[in-house]
Point group: D2
Chain length 92, copies 4
């Protein structure tokens, strides 16, 4: 994964926040907080995982398939832009 | 959440495994492992979150709505059993 | 499923709209409309299915487990209200 | 969407089956079948929609971005193959 430093920092930020969210769920379970509170925390983890997945897929498309920003073939550039948009729609 | 000790231990085990999975994703990103490998690790986190959600919902049904194991009303006991089955089907 | 007439009419309305959405996808495929357009139509079907699922689960909770509107036990009524809220959060 | 005839026929088959599934749900609601039965039919529609989405995305990748079967650049061909695999994993 020869990603730019910027991408890597962003992805690491996302996964560290997810680890922090898992720790918040752990503390809520230990403190015997209500089911609904715990489930809301878990729902926010699920949202964060979908966001991370969408970002990883977008990176994969840009770095290993077609990067719309540098692609010479206009049809492929448009196809890749649409694909990134679709991945975001379906995963976020 | 006045759960039995057993439920709490099981749920804590699940969330701690999830934290471990987040750490594995963090290490994979730091080691610049391939996108596909990282995405497979993230997909397994998503599965674990669905499993945790299903278990928390099942606990909520048993402890705060109707517990099929102790419910006197046979119709309600059957309705709650079916509901737990549906939650599992939709979330796992 | 001894639902009130009102529930049945609402659910039938939802599934008939879904059938109409499937027909729109069929026409889009036959007209060889772009992938992105077809995928957007399919995404709206997915949203409609999640909405129908949430409504069917809510009906199941109210009619076969605990109906918060008529339940004498305040704890159960609150538990069922929270459960309906959770099902909506997770499925919509 | 300049798909091959084969793709179009396959996609039309899928959406027509989905329309048939919607009609089965409609009949089940009219016959006042149990919630659980109706929800199982709706769950099978959800699975069919995920399958259709994955197939449409795969077609989009092959026809508008990179087709691994004909791509000269080996890196891109591998990247597109992995992407198709990921889309299937996440949507099916």
């Amino acid at each position: 994964m020869t990603h730019t430093i910027k991408d890597k920092a962003k992805l690491l930020g996302r996964i560290r926040r997810l680890k922090g969210q898992a720790e918040a769920v752990e503390r809520a379970l230990e403190a015997e907080r209500g089911c609904t509170d715990v489930l809301m925390l878990v729902a926010s983890m699920r949202g964060a995982i979908n966001g991370l997945t969408a970002e990883l897929m977008e990176d994969h498309i840009r770095h290993h398939v077609v990067d719309p920003a540098t692609e010479a073939d206009a049809g492929r550039a448009r196809g890749a832009t649409e694909l990134i948009e679709l991945v975001r729609t379906y995963l976020k």
